[in-house]
Symmetry: C2
């Protein structure tokens, strides 16, 4: 049976940038059937479960295009360290302690956070326990892009083993959970994967028609070291080895990159996940997002893990992304309000190569969220787009649907037991 | 009768940076009586109303050191304009429409927002309806620093009239509401007040022992124009005219200032309100806060008005302030986690020249807030300082006390009628 939600302000994020002041959406588990202004007719109501949105704001679910949910219980482990120290002294030793249960709980906590703040789809780049996570996501109902990421600082045999594991996970789970799970291959970074290994991974991805996700140009030191060793920027090396064209890339960070790189990215059709808060917190720098946008790259947004963020609220991340560009370039109209919403929705679906979400239109899948306008920080109420970008918090989200199924209804979880999960997380962290 | 809140994690923000894992606070409307670890003894419980905090986090109330609550209903009026255009085309024409009722409602909305996000004290720089606002604040119970700000681009007679009005408001209301209201004088900015007028205002402030609040060096254009006209930076002009030493200054913004200016600020004991989100949003730039801190200036935080922010959540503002410095300087340990909490609390009380708040210790007044630790984004729970800075949201605040009186209790307003105020705001903005 279809569901009909009426009396909503609908921000469609479609090509025409349609915002419906008062309207309705009819959908089912396969797709969105109708979106229209005004009251539904008697005919449109027939055969539906109806729900009055009471003026809530309804928009596509947010897409988090770079993260590591397995690290969620490392939140706050070390807040004043730069990337390399932070990895070597804090993160990697802590990860040695992880087991199946800690990973499960960490990921459940991250899904609680994501659902409660309006994220319907996320990218997880990690090296541990992927099949278990995929199966858990099936139960929870979120949309996710998963991959077994690899570090290549090891023997050729180990490299091959890791790649085989990645590929077997990716091919087994791509399209699972009714298409909600997609997969990628993921060399961790150019400074942790020798070029030949990246070659082999990209070749495997092309053969299997899988996208490739990689950290790129996160810190200045990494670029200096790479140039010392290879005589060029890692993106230029990828181009020289003909790894860009014909590969569905999603690069995370892209902080230390310049005009000519964004030209190349645009020409080759690669995607970017911008991670402003993590880049700031670790002292990595400020990614030149205004340049990326100028080159027509559909920049998306990722939080990175909460060990370097330290939260998963994409509304705050979107706001931060916009404000940062205006501040650093001293230009208030450089990245416009609406661009923020695109980064967090439609551009996220482009970045993950999942086309049927990110905008609300008939035929697309029904991944959407609702926010309560009844907040002092949303007054005056009529300036909806402004408030979504410059005032909204994850906590304003009241409802989350993925593929037409509710995961969060009037702030209650439908598929997860929040109290139980938080109690488990507490018992582990003691 | 005293109140005793026990079973709380107490972040005192005292000189020793004391954090009490499980403890209690005894206080009344005059001051804090005891703060200690563990369980209160039978004797300490005697003659008190007792309340179990159930593990909540208890910390000093946040201090917002620069804002314009009267502008609250201009939120979202124009989000993609630089400061000068924004003022001339959007803000000033809109302000022409203000009347007593719109101002009253705008300010009530801002107080609802501030209380609900943990702000206990704020600075309001505005030119309209100050006495009415002061009387309203008395009823609501917040702490505030108020002033009738002046623009001097007018005849000498008008200048004198405005100054007289400012001074008469300031002297009449300083110390009102049991000391919760303090006042300042406020020349709007060096580009809107000729130097002679600033001279006269500062002289009046010295005579009346009042601090002076002013926008300073907000945009690059403003500094260029000022230097064309006066041959020096506005701060240098203030020094040349001997207006810095012996005056209790609070400067807002301070974006386009350099090492030598911070040396001067430090020597003269002036205070700074850093307004990161507003500076970013209007494309004004990034204030060199790391330099300010290196010079030992106790930088405080202000939101500016919601027309350029667009919210009043000081937790987000504090986080933004820290991350920004790390990002722009590419150094993760440049502004440490704890510094963020200082900026939003104790430094705020220094910036407003109100000494009995900002830190929790016996003898200080009981201005404090509580946050619920029961949030997925606060796991693992034991890393309290990290979470307060890098994960907390205004919406995590559950309780607000000023001078020992509750303004917000388990998320319910005690002294304000939120529904009524929001309904009025809605009817006005239609």
């Amino acid at each position: 049976m279809d569901t009909l939600i009426y009396n909503a302000t609908i921000i469609t994020m479609d090509e025409e940038e349609t915002v419906i002041d008062r309207g309705y959406i009819r959908f089912n588990e396969a797709s969105i059937v109708t979106i229209a202004e005004g009251e539904p007719t008697q005919e449109e109501k027939e055969g539906t479960v109806q729900r009055n949105a009471n003026g809530k704001w309804l928009m596509p679910g947010l897409v988090n295009t770079h993260g590591h949910p397995g690290m969620t219980l490392l939140r706050g482990i070390s807040d004043d360290q730069p990337l390399q120290e932070w990895l070597e002294q804090s993160i990697w030793p802590a990860e040695q302690q992880f087991n199946e249960r800690t990973l499960h709980v960490a990921r459940d906590v991250s899904m609680i956070e994501m659902i409660a703040s309006g994220t319907t789809a996320f990218v997880d780049m990690y090296h541990l326990g992927l099949p278990a996570f995929a199966n858990r996501i099936k139960e929870v109902g979120l949309r996710a892009t998963l991959m077994r990421s690899v570090i290549g600082l090891c023997s050729k045999e180990e490299q091959d083993e890791k790649l085989a594991e990645s590929l077997s996970f990716a091919t087994a789970f791509h399209g699972e959970a009714n298409g909600r799970i997609t997969t990628m291959l993921a060399p961790h970074a150019p400074y942790t994967c020798p070029p030949d290994y990246i070659d082999r991974i990209v070749e495997a991805a092309r053969d299997a028609d899988l996208p490739v996700h990689m950290h790129l140009a996160e810190t200045r030191k990494e670029i200096h070291d790479f140039m010392d060793q290879h005589g060029m920027h890692p993106l230029e090396l990828l181009e020289e080895r003909e790894l860009l064209a014909g590969t569905k890339w999603l690069f995370a960070h892209c902080v230390h990159m310049y005009e000519q790189h964004f030209e190349l990215i645009q020409q080759r059709g690669s995607m970017i996940s911008h991670n402003p808060m993590s880049n700031m917190k670790l002292g990595s720098g400020i990614a030149p997002v205004a340049s990326m946008l100028k080159h027509g790259i559909p920049v998306s947004i990722g939080t990175d893990s909460v060990a370097s963020n330290n939260h998963l609220d994409l509304f705050e991340e979107m706001r931060f992304a916009l404000l940062l560009q205006r501040g650093v370039n001293e230009q208030a109209d450089l990245v416009k309000t609406y661009e923020g919403l695109k980064m967090a929705t439609i551009n996220g679906s482009k970045a993950t190569y999942v086309n049927q979400v990110g905008a609300l239109r008939p035929g697309n899948e029904a991944d959407f969220i609702m926010l309560s306008p009844h907040q002092a920080h949303f007054l005056p109420e009529q300036r909806v787009l402004s408030h979504l970008v410059f005032s909204a918090k994850g906590t304003d989200v009241t409802d989350v649907f993925v593929q037409g199924k509710p995961l969060y209804r009037d702030k209650e979880f439908v598929t997860m037991d929040k109290e139980k999960i938080m109690a488990e997380a507490r018992s582990i962290s003691k």
